[in-house]
C-alpha cells in the first residue's frame, strides 16, 4: 500500500569543482611524488569504506521461547497465544514470547500485591543494596545486553553500547541512592510507596526505559508489573535474569510480555495503584480515559515534535553535529527528537549545505557493525509509517534530500531524510514521524522562533543554538518544553528530570522530581507515623 519514498533525484553532494591543484604545482616547486601505493587506499579507507567491523554475538544466548517472569520465577503463561519477535535488520525471527492474557496479568499483579507490603516496609538501605547490585550486574553484562538490544531493536551497536546500556545501569545506580534518603528528598513530608505499579514501556530504548521505570519505583518501595513492547521484549526478559541473579525478592518485579491488549489489561487492573506509561500520545490519551475515576495515579511520557532552533551566531559546525544527533540518533525513533529544525534565515543556506554534506557521511546498514551510524527501523509497521509521512512531505511540496547510500537488501532500513521548504502547515512539521526525517523551517527573529517552536500540541523538548548567553535564557524560559538543550541535544542523565509539557505528558523521570511520581507525600510531624521504608 505504501510506496517507499523515492530516492533523492539529486546525486549526493560532489566536491564543488575539481580539487584544486596542489599549491606546489602552481608555484613551480617540485611536484609531489605520484601517489604511493598506499595512497590508493581510498578504496578501503574513506568516509564510506571502512571494512566490516561486526560486534561478536557469541555472548548472547536467545532461547527459542520464553515464559513470563512472575513472583521471581519464569513461568509458563496461562495464555496460549504467542508473539514472535524479529531482528529488524534481517526480518528473521529471534524468539517467541507469550501474548499474556487476563489470567497472566492477574497472576503478575497478585504477585506484585503480595510483595508490596514487605518491600514497602523494607528499610531503604536494604532496597538500595538490591538496586546497587542490579546496576553492577548490568555493567558486568553490558556487552551482552548491548548486542541483545541491537538484535531485537535494530539500533546501531555503538549506540546500545555507548548510550542505552551504560545509562540503564546508571539509572539503577542513581536511584539506589534515593532508596535510603527519601526523608531528605522531600523535606517536611513523609514519602510512602504508592502501591503496586503497572508500567508499560516502548520499543525505542527497551532496556533503558525499563530502567527509567523500575529504578525509581523500586527505590520508593513500590512493587512493579512491567510490560515491555511487543517488538522488543528480549532485553527486559534478560533483565529478569539479572534480577534473579541479584536475589531481588520474588514478586517485587514481574515482567509480562504482550501487545497493547496486555497493556490495557494491566493498566485497568484493580490491583494496580499507579500507572506509568511511555509511548504514543494516542495510547496515552486512551489510558487516561481508561483510568478516569479509578483514583489511580498516572504519569505519561508521550510523543514530541521538538524544535531545534539555530541562530546565526551559533557554532555552526557543532550545530550540524547536534542536528544530526538530534534527529538521526536511534533512527529518529526518539520521542524528544529534534524533528523540526528552525534556522535563522540568514544562515539557512549554510546550515543546510553543511547538513547535506554531513548526511552523505552517515553510514546506514548492519546495526551490529561498530561503525554503523544508522541501523534498522524497529518494525515493518514503523517503516511504512515513516514512508507514508515522507511521501506526504513530497506530495505537499517540500523539497526532499536523501543521501545516495546503499541500503541492505533485507530488513527495515530507511535513508536519513532532509526536507527543506517546509511550513508549519505541512504534516511532516506537525505529526510525530518517529523516523530519521528532518523538516527544515526558517525564522527571522527570536520572537518568531519562539512562536514557531511552541506551535505544536507537544512539549517534550527543545534545542537552542546561539553563542549569546542571555538569549539562551530568554529562549529557554519561553519554550513550552520539559527539557531544553542549549548548544547540545539528546543528553540524558539519571539525575536530570525528563518529561513533557502539554500533550507530551506529565510527570518526570530522573532526579528528585522523578521520585515524586512514585511516592505519596504525607505531612511529617507528630501526626505522621514513622515513614514506611523511609527510615533505615
Amino acid at each position: 500500500m505504501t510506496r517507499i519514498a523515492p530516492t533523492s533525484p539529486q546525486a549526493p553532494a560532489q566536491p564543488k569543482e575539481a580539487p584544486a591543484q596542489p599549491p606546489a604545482a602552481e608555484t613551480g616547486a617540485p611536484r609531489l611524488p605520484a601517489p604511493a601505493p598506499g595512497a590508493g587506499a581510498q578504496l578501503e579507507f574513506g568516509p564510506h569504506s571502512y571494512a566490516p567491523a561486526p560486534e561478536a554475538t557469541d555472548l548472547v544466548e536467545i532461547a527459542p521461547s520464553y515464559g513470563l517472569f512472575i513472583d521471581g520465577e519464569f513461568v509458563a503463561p496461562r495464555s496460549d497465544q504467542t508473539i514472535t519477535t524479529l531482528n529488524p535488520a534481517t526480518a528473521r525471527p529471534l524468539s517467541v514470547v507469550p501474548q499474556s492474557g487476563p489470567e497472566d496479568v492477574d497472576l503478575a499483579v497478585a504477585a506484585a500485591g503480595k510483595a508490596a507490603v514487605s518491600w514497602g516496609r523494607a528499610p531503604g538501605k536494604v532496597r538500595a543494596r538490591y538496586l546497587y547490585r542490579i546496576a553492577r550486574l548490568l555493567q558486568e553484562r553490558s556487552r551482552e545486553f548491548a548486542v541483545l538490544e541491537t538484535l531485537d531493536n535494530g539500533k546501531p551497536v555503538k549506540e546500545s553500547r555507548d548510550v542505552d546500556i551504560p545509562l540503564a545501569a546508571a539509572h539503577f545506580f542513581h536511584h539506589a541512592g534515593w532508596a535510603d534518603k527519601l526523608e531528605y528528598a522531600f523535606a517536611g513530608a513523609v514519602a510512602r510507596p504508592v502501591g503496586p505499579v503497572g508500567q508499560v514501556i516502548p520499543w525505542n530504548f527497551p532496556l533503558l526505559m525499563a530502567a527509567w521505570k523500575l529504578a525509581p519505583a523500586l527505590a520508593a518501595g513500590n512493587t512493579v508489573v512491567l510490560k515491555p513492547a511487543e517488538t522488543t521484549p528480549l532485553s527486559a526478559l534478560a533483565l529478569a535474569d539479572v534480577l534473579q541473579e541479584a536475589d531481588l525478592p520474588p514478586g517485587v518485579v514481574n515482567i509480562i510480555t504482550g501487545n497493547g491488549i496486555t497493556g490495557d489489561a494491566l493498566v485497568r487492573h484493580q490491583g494496580v495503584r499507579k500507572v506509568a506509561f511511555t509511548g504514543s500520545t494516542v495510547v496515552g490519551k486512551s489510558i487516561g480515559s481508561a483510568l478516569a475515576g479509578s483514583g489511580k495515579r498516572l504519569t505519561l511520557e508521550l510523543g514530541g515534535k521538538a524544535a531545534n532552533i539555530v541562530f546565526e551566531d551559533a557554532a555552526l559546525d557543532q550545530v550540524t553535529e547536534g542536528i544530526v544527533n538530534g534527529i538521526y540518533f536511534n533512527q529518529g525513533q526518539v520521542c524528544c527528537a529534534g524533528s523540526r529544525l528552525l534556522v535563522q534565515e540568514s544562515v539557512a543556506e549554510t546550515v543546510v549545505a553543511k547538513l547535506r554534506r554531513r548526511l552523505d557521511t552517515l553510514r546506514v546498514g548492519d546495526p551490529l557493525d561498530k561503525n554503523t551510524d544508522i541501523g534498522a527501523v524497529n518494525s515493518a509497521a514503523q517503516l511504512s509509517k515513516i514512508a507514508e509521512l515522507v511521501n506526504s512531505g513530497v506530495d505537499e511540496g517540500a523539497e526532499i534530500y536523501q543521501p545516495a547510500c546503499d541500503l541492505p537488501d533485507i530488513g527495515y532500513f530507511f535513508r536519513p531524510t532532509l526536507f527543506c521548504g517546509v511550513s508549519q502547515s505541512h504534516r511532516i512539521a506537525r505529526e510525530e514521524i518517529f523516523g530519521p526525517v528532518l523538516s527544515v523551517l526558517t525564522f527571522r527573529t527570536p520572537d518568531e522562533a519562539v512562536e514557531k517552536a511552541n506551535n505544536t500540541a507537544y512539549g517534550l523538548s527543545a534545542g537552542i543554538w546561539t553563542e549569546k548567553g542571555s538569549r539562551i535564557l530568554w529562549m529557554a524560559e519561553r519554550m513550552k518544553a520539559g527539557v531544553v538543550w542549549a548548544n547540545t541535544f539528546n543528553r540524558f542523565d539519571p539525575a536530570s528530570p525528563f518529561g513533557g509539557y502539554r500533550e507530551s505528558g506529565y510527570g518526570r523521570e530522573g532526579g528528585r522530581q522523578g521520585m515524586l511520581s512514585y511516592v505519596e507525600l504525607e505531612p511529617a510531624g507528630p501526626a505522621g507515623a514513622a515513614p514506611a521504608g523511609a527510615t533505615a
Partner: protein, 299 residues
C-alpha cells in the same frame, strides 16, 4: 586584506560539542583491509621529523635513509612524504633525497617562538629554500595574534609566504598556546587567508601537542574555507603522535570531516618521528598475523 580581517569574525566553536564529535570519531573501528590501507596512507603522510639541537649531518642522513626504505624487508611500502629538519641541515637532507620523491621540509623563521626580527626570519626562510627545502614550516606570531594585532600576524605570514617563493608553506598555529578553540579557528582562518598551503597544529616544543579535537577544529575551518574561498588547504598534525592507532584516528577525522580528497600527502601530513616504527610494526602484524620483534625495525 587586513582591513577585511580587522574584526576577524569567524564561526564560533563549542568546545564540548567538538570534543564529543572527536571522541565519537576516535571510536571508529578500523579493521583488516581498512587498517592496512590506513597504515599505508599514514606512512605516506608522515613528515619524518628530527628537530633536536643535537642533530648532526650523520643523523639526518640516517633519517633520510629510513625515509627512502622504511622497511627493507617490505619494499612495496610507500615512502614518507618528507623529511623535516632545521635549516642548517637542509642541504644535507636535500643531497640525500635528491630525485627520490621524498621532499625536504624545514622549520624556519625563528622556530619555535617566531619572535626574532622579521627580516632575520624572512632571511632564514629564503636561505632554507635556496638550500633545497621544498616545504617550509613557519610559526604564527602568537604574540601579535594574542594581543589582537591580527594585521601584524597576517602581514608577517604573507611576507613569509612570499619569501618562501615556490616552496610550500605550512603555518604552525601552536594551538596549545592559543587558549581556546575559538582562537584556534580564528588563527586557522588568518593563516589560510595569508596564503598558507597547510595549517599545522604544533611545534612539538611545548607540552601541549596535537589532539584529535584540535585537528577536528582545524579541519572544520579548512572545510569552511574551501567552501567560501574555493581554495583547498592542507592539515598537518604534529607532536605526540606515536602510535599507529592515533594515526588512523586522525585519518578518520580528516576523512569524515574533509572527505576523501584530503586523504593524500598533498593535503594531509603527520609530523612525527617515533610513529613510523609503530606503523611498520602494525603493518608487519597484518602481514604475518603476529607481532614481530621490535629490534627488527630499522632505526
Amino acid at each position: 586584506m587586513p582591513g577585511a580581517l580587522g574584526a576577524l569574525s569567524v564561526t564560533p566553536v563549542d568546545a564540548v560539542g567538538l570534543h564529543e564529535r572527536a571522541e565519537s570519531l576516535a571510536r571508529r573501528s578500523i579493521k583488516s583491509s581498512s587498517k592496512q590501507a590506513a597504515l599505508r596512507l599514514a606512512l605516506a603522510c608522515i613528515d619524518l621529523t628530527s628537530l633536536e639541537g643535537a642533530d648532526t649531518p650523520g643523523r639526518v642522513r640516517s633519517l633520510c635513509g629510513k625515509a627512502l626504505r622504511p622497511d627493507p624487508s617490505n619494499p612495496g611500502l610507500p615512502q614518507p612524504a618528507a623529511v623535516c629538519v632545521y635549516p642548517a641541515l637542509v642541504a644535507t637532507a636535500a643531497a640525500s633525497l635528491a630525485g627520490t620523491g621524498v621532499r625536504v621540509a624545514s622549520v624556519a623563521g625563528s622556530f619555535p617562538a617566531g619572535l626574532g626580527p622579521l627580516e632575520a626570519r624572512l632571511d632564514e626562510i629564503r636561505q632554507a629554500v635556496s638550500d633545497g627545502a621544498d616545504e617550509i614550516d613557519i610559526v604564527l606570531n602568537r604574540s601579535a595574534f594574542l594581543s589582537g594585532r591580527y594585521g601584524q600576524a597576517l602581514g608577517e605570514l604573507v611576507a613569509s609566504k612570499e619569501a618562501a617563493g615556490g616552496a610550500q608553506v605550512k603555518v604552525i598555529l601552536e594551538t596549545g598556546e592559543l587558549g581556546s578553540y575559538d582562537s584556534v579557528r580564528r588563527a586557522s582562518v588568518l593563516a589560510m587567508a595569508a596564503g598558507a598551503d597547510f595549517i599545522k597544529t604544533s611545534t612539538g616544543k611545548i607540552g601541549a601537542s596535537a589532539t584529535l579535537p584540535m585537528a577536528l577544529c582545524m579541519a572544520e575551518a579548512i572545510r569552511e574555507f574551501a567552501e567560501t574561498d574555493g581554495r583547498t588547504v592542507g592539515l598537518k598534525v604534529a607532536g605526540g603522535i606515536r602510535t599507529a592507532k592515533q594515526s588512523w584516528q586522525y585519518l578518520v577525522v580528516v576523512s569524515e570531516t574533509l572527505g576523501a580528497d584530503w586523504l593524500t600527502p598533498r593535503l594531509f601530513r603527520i609530523g612525527a618521528s617515533a610513529l613510523l616504527n609503530d606503523v611498520l610494526l602494525q603493518l608487519d602484524r597484518l602481514r604475518f598475523g603476529r607481532y614481530v620483534r621490535g629490534d627488527k625495525t630499522v632505526i
